[in-house]
Structures are given as C-alpha cells and as structure tokens.
C-alpha cells in the first residue's frame, strides 16, 4: 500500500516546480515581446511613415527671387509679394513680439517685457542689443522680418554679404575687378534667398540650441548635438532613424508654433490623432495614444500620473554639457586690471569676469515635479523674499489635479542681484557701452537696466539665490534605455524621493508596521532558537 503511492507522489512533486517555473519564465519572456509589440509604437510608426515632402514650387525659378538684392528688407518684400499674409501673421506671434501676454497681476510677460531668468536675466525691453542676435529681423533691427532665419537652408552672414556687395559695387566703377567680386557675392545672396525650406533642426536650433549666450546654456535637452542627433540621443530626430525635424511635432497654425510651455500650457487636451485628426502633434499622446504599452503592462497604469518623458528621457545633456549654475555675485574680478576667463570641466568656461562663476555638467538626471503644463514665473515687478532661495519659475500642478503629471525638469540655479530696498529682482543692462560687460560697474548697469523697463532702482543691491526650470522633453531615448522601475521604486535616493503625499511601492516604508513586523520576526527567531537549544540540552540530560 505504501509503495503504490510513491510514484504518483513523485510525479506530483516533479510537475509542481516545473509548472511554476514555466509560468514564471513566461511572465518574464512576455515582457520582451510586449516592448516590441507595443500598440503605441505601431500607431506612431503608422502616423509618421510618410518619407518625403513634396511641393509645387521651385523657388529658384521665381523671377522675383532672381533680382539683385541690396538689403534684407528687399528680400522680405520679395517673399511677401507672393506670401502676402505671412509677415502680418508672423508679427503677431511670440517669436516676433517676445511678449507673452499679461499675467494675473496685469504685468506683461515675455523676454522683451518684464520676464526674467537667472542667465542674462533680462532683455531689457529689447534695449540690450546683444539679445537681438536671436530676434528674427535683419541684424539687430526690428522692423522687417528675416523669413530665411527659419526658412533658409543656406548658411550666410546677411549683414556682411550686403555690406560687401554694396561697397564692391560702389567701388567697381574705379576698379572693374571688384565688379566680378560683387557679382559673386550677389549670386551667393540669390542662391541663399532661393533655397527656401520648411524649418529644419538647424534653423530652429540656430537660436534654441544657443539660448543664454552659448551652446547648451539654457535647456539641457536642446543643444547643437541635436542638429544631427543619432537615434541613441533622440529616437525621433535621429538621422539614422525617423529623422524628424522640430516641426514634425511642433505643428503650426498661422505661424504660431505649438509647444510653448511657460505662462500657458502647450496643450489643454491630451488627444491622439485618432480622436482628433486635426489636433496638434505636440504631445506624445498625439501619435502614441495614452496607453501606448502592450495591454496589461503596468506602464500603461502609470500614464495618468507620470509623463512619458519621466521614464523615456533617462538623462539630459547626454552629448554636450549644459550650464547648471551661474553665480553673478563673483563677477567683476580682474587680473592686472583686465577682465579674464578660466576654463573648467569639458573645456567650458567656469569663470568670466563679466559673468561670474558657472558650472557645466553632462548626462544629468532630471528633477521631478508635478506639472500641469503651466509654469509660474516671477517678473521684475514682483516682490521677493530674499531670505531664502527665490523660485524665478516653478512648475504648477499637484497630485490631485487630473491634468498634472510627474514631469522631468532641468533646474538652473543662479545667484543674481536684487534691490535691497524695493525687494525686487534687478535687470542689469549687459551689452553696449554702458552695459556691465563693458564697465563691470553694477550701479551703472542696474540703473540703466531698471530705466529700460521703467522700474525703480534704490541704488542699494545685494545678491540672492534663485532657481529657474526647463521642462525636459527632447532627447527621448530608444526603448531599451528607459528609466528602470527600480530607479524610482527604491528605498534610498530614488529619482522621485522629493515627491511626497502618496504611497509609492518600493520607495516608502510603512513606519510602525515595519518596526513591529521585524520585531515579531526577530522574536520568533529568538523564541525558536531558545526552545531548540533547550531541547538539545535537556535531551542530553534525559539520556544520561
């Protein structure tokens, strides 16, 4: 009777572990399959499969673009002789006005208004001419639009070319050889005028990669490495992959380009193209849907609270370094009476007499905040509390807001001047003969800066610590390089350690339950150990 049972029992014990093992293997294996077959991936590939743009115009064949150009505005005239509404449209956009509308206190926002940051602080109502190198006019003039900043595919120095052409032409009556030179320059100008394109990464990048006065200063997820990124740097824009231009996602309406995320959100609805085929493509959801991962995947359960960017952009500034801090208070030092610079990590300047100390870093983990798409910004007119760190800008949103997601940010930390009497931030004029960069005199720079914005300046100033945020949304990594679950779901030093007010598995302990629980476990171990030792000793005695 006993032996007849054993084989069956043996079979059971063999089946049992095999069964569980197979189940567990399938759980892990299904995961890899899930990544390859994610419906959001397939959907986006379908939405973006068209390879070539086509158009009905060859600009080189238009007579108006084959005339002799002697000035920038003449080029603009030629453009609007066909595109009659283009400039009117463009002059209403923020790219031209640098004004973002009034905030809730009625203060005009925008870089040509009262907005400020902790880089070059303020554009001083466009009176700081240094800032205008990024204004899409001709040179530093603000009358006529240079359409080719965004729509030209040839690199050319317009001011220099027109100046050379005009002077060679004027002198050619005396020196006929100069006539040939002038013609050569003119044909270069004409070629540049005729090389019209949809804006490419290079066009947008000519300003957006260099904001703050140099490559990668401001954003951290936008720098010259994005002109020709590979897939590893940006899975959408990679030249070895989809090769997206900026405008593939930053879709436009009457020259208004979608995607600006400051005072107002870039979008109010998260819709996919399936739900609304005319929606802007500015959200990830537009092409990938709000549940892009394979059905049943835990990642789909995260999309209501965690932005796609939080997991899919593991680090920013992955190729070029970005500026992480700027301390204006140390500026003004001289060597032998002259301003100087020193270089630090990555060959980047870490001290300049005209700017102070700065820190450059690479391959950075973002900081994470609840974000509903709006950034609250201080203006030069707002009172501050200089006793702590002043948030020049910070993301709005909280966990209970259904439009908020946990979103990655670059936080730039600054030390900058403020008015000790009025308790406001100050806006030094930097470039030009009276600017700080020429004089290294704060009093002059600060009072001229205040005048440019019609703001008061008491004459007494000190420096205050500030923070300024940039949403991290470019440099989306390939699927194999996403942030692992355990980088957030971990007890110590997780990426989301600073986000409070909710229970997060793996990160949060359970306080009293943990303490009591481990005490019970310890008690059990001690108890059975003592009991066992007691048995061993008494057993010996009993045998004696």
């Amino acid at each position: 009777m006993k032996s007849s049972n054993t084989p069956i029992t043996g079979v059971l014990f063999l089946i049992l572990p095999v069964w569980i093992l197979l189940g567990l293997i399938s759980v892990v294996w299904a995961d890899q399959k899930a990544v390859d077959q994610a419906p959001g991936r397939a959907m986006a590939q379908q939405a973006a499969k068209i390879a070539e743009h086509w158009n009905t115009t060859d600009h080189a064949k238009h007579e108006v673009l084959r005339q002799t150009f002697t000035s920038g505005p003449q080029v603009t005239e030629a453009c609007i002789s066909c595109h009659s509404e283009a400039e009117t449209q463009f002059h209403k956009t923020i790219h031209w006005t640098w004004k973002a509308g009034k905030n809730e206190k009625g203060v005009e926002m925008g870089k040509s208004a009262y907005s400020l940051n902790n880089f070059c602080i303020s554009a001083n109502n466009e009176q700081d001419k240094g800032c205008l190198s990024c204004h899409p006019g001709w040179g530093t003039k603000t009358e006529s639009t240079n359409c080719l900043v965004c729509h030209g595919s040839k690199e050319i120095s317009w001011d220099e070319s027109f100046e050379d052409f005009n002077s060679f032409l004027a002198e050619s009556e005396e020196d006929p050889e100069l006539k040939d030179l002038a013609n050569e320059i003119q044909s270069e100008i004409q070629l540049a005028v005729q090389s019209v394109t949809l804006p490419t990464r290079k066009n947008c990048g000519s300003c957006h990669f260099y904001g703050g006065g140099g490559d990668g200063v401001k954003h951290g997820d936008l720098d010259s490495s994005m002109t020709k990124p590979n897939k590893a740097l940006d899975v959408h824009m990679g030249v070895d992959g989809q090769n997206f231009d900026c405008v593939r996602c930053h879709t436009t309406s009457q020259h208004n380009i979608s995607g600006r995320m400051y005072t107002t959100p870039a979008y109010t609805h998260r819709k996919s193209l399936i739900e609304d085929d005319l929606t802007s493509k500015i959200t990830c959801e537009s092409c990938h849907s709000s549940t892009p991962h394979q059905s049943g995947s835990k990642a789909n359960d995260h999309t209501d609270k965690v932005a796609c960017q939080s997991c899919h952009i593991p680090t920013f500034a992955r190729v070029n370094p970005t500026k992480m801090s700027w301390d204006w208070s140390t500026s003004g030092k001289t060597k032998d009476g002259k301003p100087y610079k020193t270089k630090g990590a990555y060959g980047k300047e870490d001290y300049l007499s005209i700017k102070g100390n700065m820190k450059w870093e690479k391959n950075l983990k973002p900081e994470y905040f609840w974000f509903n798409g709006s950034i609250q910004s201080l203006t030069a007119a707002d009172p501050i509390d200089p006793s702590g760190v002043v948030a020049l800008s910070h993301p709005l949103g909280d966990r209970d807001d259904e439009n908020s997601r946990i979103y990655p940010f670059k936080v730039h930390r600054g030390v900058q001047p403020y008015d000790k009497v009025h308790k406001t931030l100050l806006t030094p004029l930097l470039s030009g003969p009276n600017g700080y960069w020429s004089t290294l005199d704060w009093q002059v720079a600060l009072s001229n800066g205040a005048k440019s914005l019609d703001l008061p300046f008491s004459g007494e100033f000190d420096f205050v610590k500030t923070t300024y945020v940039y949403p991290t949304t470019h440099m989306v990594a390939p699927k194999d390089n996403v942030v692992a679950c355990s980088e957030c779901h971990i007890r110590d030093e997780g990426r989301m350690a600073n986000l409070a007010g909710f229970y997060m598995p793996g990160r949060d302990g359970a306080g009293l339950i943990d303490t009591l629980g481990w005490l019970v476990i310890l008690g059990s171990l001690v108890g059975v150990s003592l009991h066992g030792i007691g048995r061993i000793f008494t057993n010996r005695n009993n045998k004696k």
Binding site: L16, G509, V520, H531
Partner: protein, 218 residues
C-alpha cells in the same frame, strides 16, 4: 518514554500537494514581496513585481480548489477550534518536551491537528490568507479602483494590512518549520508530509470531539 509506534496514513495526496504548492507559492510571494517593499534588491523591482503578481494570482485560483476540497471532504471539521486539551498542549511545549514526555495529543487520521494547531491553521486559512488575497488583489488592481466603484480606498491602508499579514506569515513560517523538528525524530513530520505516512504512538484514547469524520484511505 517510547511507546509502540504505528505507521499510519495521515495526509492524502491532494493534501500533500496543496501543502507543498502553498509552501512554494508563499516562499516566492514572501521573497518577492519583501523586495517590492524595498527591503533588498535581488531580482530587481520590475521582475519582483511581475513574479509576485503572477504567483499571487496563481495562488488565488489554487486556493479556490483548496476551499472546494476542504468542504467536500469534510476536512473542515479538522479546523474546528477547541479549548479542550489546549492547556496540556501548551504545557507540553513549554515544559514537557524538555522532560522527554510524550505529546499529549498523538496524531490520528481522524484528528491530525492538536488544539493549538487547529487554532493557528484556522486563523491562517480562514482569516490571514484570505485577508492577504483580498488586499493583494486590491493592491494589484490599484488602477481599476475607480472602475470598481471604490475610489475612497487608501493605498496606504491596503499596503499596511498586506504588510502586517506578510510579517505574520513570515513569523508563522519560522515557528512552523521549527515545530516540524519536534516529532519522534527531527524529520518525522517532514517525511510524513512528503509520503503521507507518519509514525505515531499507539494506544492513546481519543475522545469524540477529537475525531474528524471517518473516511477511507486512498
């Protein structure tokens, strides 16, 4: 001390299968669960969660078969709590065992659990495990709470109950595994749970309440 030993068939095939299946499942759940709770890093959070979920759901389904078995076979009667002989059993483990005394409650086919075991196993099978399954299922379905009509539930509360249960089970395992060594020899009880057959002392009279419903040996 030693009386005559009888070799009796104590645990049926399904019962043994269930015991060891449950052991494996609990072991997997405990190790992955502690990892999900951030106690250590072993499989990685992602894998630990997936394995924990799979195992938990497997257990939930398997438990339905156990419930069916325990009621259709009448084995539930083995779990009816009693205070009779309780004092003797406690006295035995606290004192008698060190004196080499016999267990006051030898196992019988009709009554394989002593009063202490009855109490512990009843609490385990009828209270602790169902609470773990319910809180575990809720935890697993966190994102569906709105659809399930329970938006007011707090994840923290669910987690705390689930954790308290986990610690209780952990403590049970420690004591339970230790107790298997207190049989006639160290491995007597373990062998019995593998083969079904156990050496028990002969000749101890059982009272009626100690007997489960008589059933035939397979």
């Amino acid at each position: 001390m030693e009386g005559k030993m009888n070799n009796i068939y104590l645990y049926t095939r399904y019962e043994r299968f269930w015991h060891w299946l449950q052991m494996a499942l609990i072991l997997i759940l405990l190790t992955t669960g502690l990892e999900v709770h951030g106690v250590y890093n072993w499989l990685g959070f992602h894998t630990a969660v997936k394995v924990h979920n799979f195992t938990g759901l497997t257990w939930l389904i398997a438990f339905a078969f156990f419930v069916f078995w325990v009621f259709t076979t009448g084995e539930w009667k083995q779990y009816i709590p009693t205070t009779q002989k309780m004092i003797e059993v406690i006295r035995y483990y606290a004192y008698g065992i060190f004196r080499g005394e016999s267990h006051p409650f030898p196992k019988q086919k009709k009554a394989k659990h002593n009063p202490l075991q009855r109490l512990v196993y009843l609490n385990l099978a009828a209270l602790l495990l169902p609470v773990m399954m319910i809180t575990g299922f809720l935890y697993w379905g966190y994102n569906s709470w709105l659809d399930w009509g329970i938006p007011g539930l707090s994840l923290t509360v669910v987690v705390w109950i689930h954790l308290a249960g986990a610690f209780s089970i952990f403590s049970f395992i420690i004591v339970h595994v230790y107790m298997t060594t207190t049989g006639h020899t160290i491995f007597t009880h373990t062998k019995a749970m593998i083969s079904g057959w156990e050496d028990v002392e002969e000749g101890v009279e059982l009272e009626d309440w100690e007997k489960a419903k008589q059933k035939s040996v397979a």
